[in-house]
């Protein structure tokens, strides 16, 4: 089978209108604006409106990405949808997205890899195009965290981190290689350090009244362990992917990391010895949007003229699972 190249033809994003500042959130949580900035670098984030769902905001980002690529929605022949905040337990959010977009009966696949979901999805889409199975694929990440954070019941260390948003890329057959090198990983022994259990399927019935009293509907995080492992794996992954590509890290034009915590990203950047202008961050105004964070950062880096065609760009992610990875692309 002849291997084809994939190309990122378009990027699109959607952010809910409501801006939630640290002043507003801090007042709810009983902490100062400075306390929040000091812990994570976030100054504001977006929260979805009541009635706004994950697949709905994903649909808005998909429309923008398709238009940016010069496609009609009918040109899409596959969608991969990454989220950790799906509309329902089943069916997956992809079917709601397909229905929202009024698409033909094209396949839509749901990916559940948390903060690394976009990288897993992008690499899968690339492989589908390279194999010749599909020609025009949308990869979309979308999250609505605010509805499950249940401020102020949530631990304030977690409640300050997350924001809502959606972003998508449009991948099509290209003439030159886009994906230069990649690596994806999981260490399931870290699963309990950042999770939202909600229910326990081993029990009968699997959802019980006490689950709410026991706060199983609220995320839990061991911040120290997540921080340490994120810095360690993102640093090692940046070095491993560039080594695999045979390209020195110094030749990478721009690193676009998952936006979990500005302090994690700054620590990774410093350990890699990279200047601030080569490490893009937008968590300051977006918060952690999990599977949406990397395409959202790509969209905003492009709008700011920092992400340009022809650049070598390293996408890095680490998150709940633990899952992590890196993809080096020629944009």
């Amino acid at each position: 089978m002849e291997t084809k190249h994939s190309r990122i033809a378009g990027i699109g994003s959607y952010l809910p209108e409501r801006v939630v500042t640290n002043a507003e959130l801090g007042a709810t949580l009983g902490v100062s604006e400075e306390w929040i900035v000091d812990r994570c670098g976030i100054r504001e984030r977006r929260f979805a409106a009541d009635g706004e769902g994950t697949s709905m905001i994903a649909a808005k980002a998909v429309r923008v990405a398709a238009a940016d690529a010069g496609w009609n929605l009918a040109d899409i022949d596959f969608i991969i949808f990454a989220t950790l905040s799906p509309d329902h337990f089943f069916p997956g959010s992809g079917v709601y997205l397909q229905n929202d977009l009024s698409l033909a009966h094209i396949p839509v696949m749901d990916v559940r890899n948390q903060c690394s979901g976009f990288l897993y999805s992008l690499l899968t889409a690339h492989a589908f195009i390279a194999s010749g199975l599909y020609r025009r694929i949308i990869v979309v990440g979308a999250e609505i965290h605010s509805h499950c954070l249940n401020v102020p019941e949530t631990n304030k260390e977690i409640a300050i981190l997350f924001g809502d948003g959606a972003a998508a890329v449009a991948l099509e057959i290209g003439n030159e290689p886009t994906v230069i090198a990649s690596t994806l990983h999981v260490d399931g022994s870290g699963a309990d350090y950042l999770k939202l259990e909600l229910f326990d399927q081993k029990r009968r019935p699997w959802v019980q009244i006490e689950d709410i009293q026991n706060r199983r509907h609220i995320p839990v995080m061991d911040g120290m362990r997540v921080f340490l492992r994120a810095v360690s794996e993102m640093t090692a992954t940046a070095l491993a992917v560039t080594e695999k590509a045979g390209i020195p890290l110094s030749e990478v034009d721009l690193v676009i990391p998952h936006q979990a915590n500005l302090r994690i990203n700054e620590t990774v950047r410093r350990r890699l010895g990279l200047p601030p202008e080569k490490f893009f961050n937008n968590i300051q105004t977006r918060g952690n949007t999990t599977a949406a964070s990397i395409p959202l950062a790509m969209a905003e880096a492009q709008q700011q003229g920092l992400l340009r065609r022809g650049q070598l760009v390293l996408l890095l992610a680490f998150g709940s699972g633990f899952t992590w990875g890196g993809i080096l692309i020629r944009y």
């Binding site: 120290m224 921080f227 350990r271």
Partner: protein, 80 residues
């Protein structure tokens, strides 16, 4: 014993915690004296590990209370 540049440790502590170098001694307690939080200590540990190409096990980080504890952890012989 590993060769650790204590002065560099002091500089990193001062930088991360927004303190002047003269405020930092081996006896300085992170939380009580330098007004650090647990995340500050974790960030410091990550940066110091990178700076000295050494590894402080996760299990030891919660017991780090002073700047001297960091230097002690860095000087501990480790198996590769």
């Amino acid at each position: 014993m590993n060769s650790i540049n204590e002065e560099r440790v002091f500089e990193l502590v001062a930088e991360v915690l927004h303190r002047t170098r003269s405020e930092i001694t081996t006896q300085s307690r992170f939380i009580e004296d330098l007004e650090a939080n647990s995340l500050d200590v974790v960030e410091l540990a990550c940066l110091i590990e990178g700076e000295f190409d050494l590894y402080i096990p996760e299990s030891e980080i919660p017991s780090i209370r002073t700047v001297g504890d960091v230097i002690h952890a860095l000087r501990k012989p480790r198996k590769n």
